[in-house]
Symmetry: C2
Subunit: 224 residues, 2 copies
DNA sequence: GTCTATACACAGATAGAC
DNA sequence: GTCTATCTGTGTATAGAC
């Protein structure tokens, strides 16, 4: 009894409340685009291994065999989505840092706002990029992992910048960065699913939490 | 080309660095226990749908057919692990709250210490309980979801307690609780995987971050 | 580009001997 | 309880017509 999209009635992630879409300008048009949107929804909902190529074809409005006229394999569809997700993330984080002032608090707030807003704007893409990357072979995961490393170093640099300036006071830079990152990543799991919060409220609140985590609101926050 | 445990060479979660174990006293002995440990490792590594019953039997040292002498289906194995994970979590959170003083900061620190330490002590169990629950039918996921709801309400209560006492100052209780919870949940994804931090360091640091998030270190933390 | 039809491996699960 | 052997459905992917 292999569960399929058809037999599954229950949706723990409540994706129906979330728009199925990709960042403007980066998604292909026509059938390849519809295939990617189908993968976005189904991989987020059922997971890569829980989605069959017949599920994908059905959701894209084509026969499953037609998928192979556009992608060499099911795994290539996931790889494309995972890469798009990581590219959008890194693009926004870079833009935030470059566009911010040298003030450590401003820069951190800009970084966190960008990070959180990617998860509110494209929760499905963030979910697939994070939770389904493990289903890719090492070879096909590598491009996304390289972008992920860059994003992590960017974030670490922002926190370290504040520490060096004497504005941030944290027990450990890596742990503080991990904590701030974790807040944002989880947003994709609940945003839009019947929650009362809008995008700006979440972004602003989490930016505030990040400044609190790094102890930027005042002195004397070092761990004793 | 269905990827299987045998053909997979790459391990993004680096589970080899993490002990495969269940909480003392709650795991069955003998073959059922070995089956659960096999499921713990493989479901965390490959996901429920990425793991075959032959993978499970091989990891447990038995023929795949023998699985059915102990569990009615593959899904029942996952259901048991997911339930064990949620039970352990709720048990520890309750113990922490009951054993803490009425002081809001003490109570929050105890709660976060318990939450984080579950993820450092049993990272695989936490990973499976969180990331693979979606593979269960509604019927079999229900018991764990009920425990999850209780745990969430427990955490919300602890934060609300501090707000009511005038000790915590947060823009929103639910968002603050979600942020604190997110920090802990993510620990399971990296703890032990070649990181230099030990259990106590992570627990203590994240407890400190939680008190900062709720603005308990001083006045004037309200969102403006 | 899209379809129908199909190849062939593997999935979950069962029967029955020991 | 554990095994060997096997059933049956589904999986990914391909061939070839339109």
């Amino acid at each position: 009894m292999v569960p399929t999209a058809k037999s599954r009635r229950w949706e723990p992630r409540r994706l129906s409340a979330v728009a199925v879409e990709l960042p403007d300008g980066v998604a292909p048009k026509g059938t390849p685009g519809r295939i990617l949107l189908a993968g976005l929804r189904l991989f987020a909902e059922l997971g890569f291994h829980g989605t069959s190529i017949r599920d994908l074809g059905g959701a894209a409005g084509i026969n499953s065999a037609t998928l192979y006229a556009h992608f060499p394999s099911k795994e290539h569809i996931l790889a494309e989505l995972v890469l798009l997700g990581h590219e959008e993330m890194l693009r926004r984080l870079r833009r935030a840092v470059v566009g911010s002032s040298a003030d450590p608090v401003d820069r951190l707030r800009a970084l966190v706002a960008a990070h959180v807003s990617v998860h509110t704007d494209f929760p499905l893409l963030a979910l697939v990029a994070n939770a389904e990357l493990h289903a890719l072979s090492a070879e096909r995961a590598a491009p996304a992992l390289a972008l992920r490393t860059e994003a992590q170093e960017l974030a670490l640099g922002v926190v370290q910048h504040g520490v060096d300036a004497g504005v941030f006071h944290v027990p450990d830079v890596w742990l503080a960065t991990a904590a701030i990152s974790a807040m944002g990543v989880r947003v994709a799991s609940w945003f839009g699913a019947g929650q009362p919060y809008d995008r700006e409220q979440v972004v602003e609140t989490y930016a505030e939490f990040a400044t609190r985590i790094v102890g930027a609101d005042g002195p004397g926050k070092e761990q004793t």
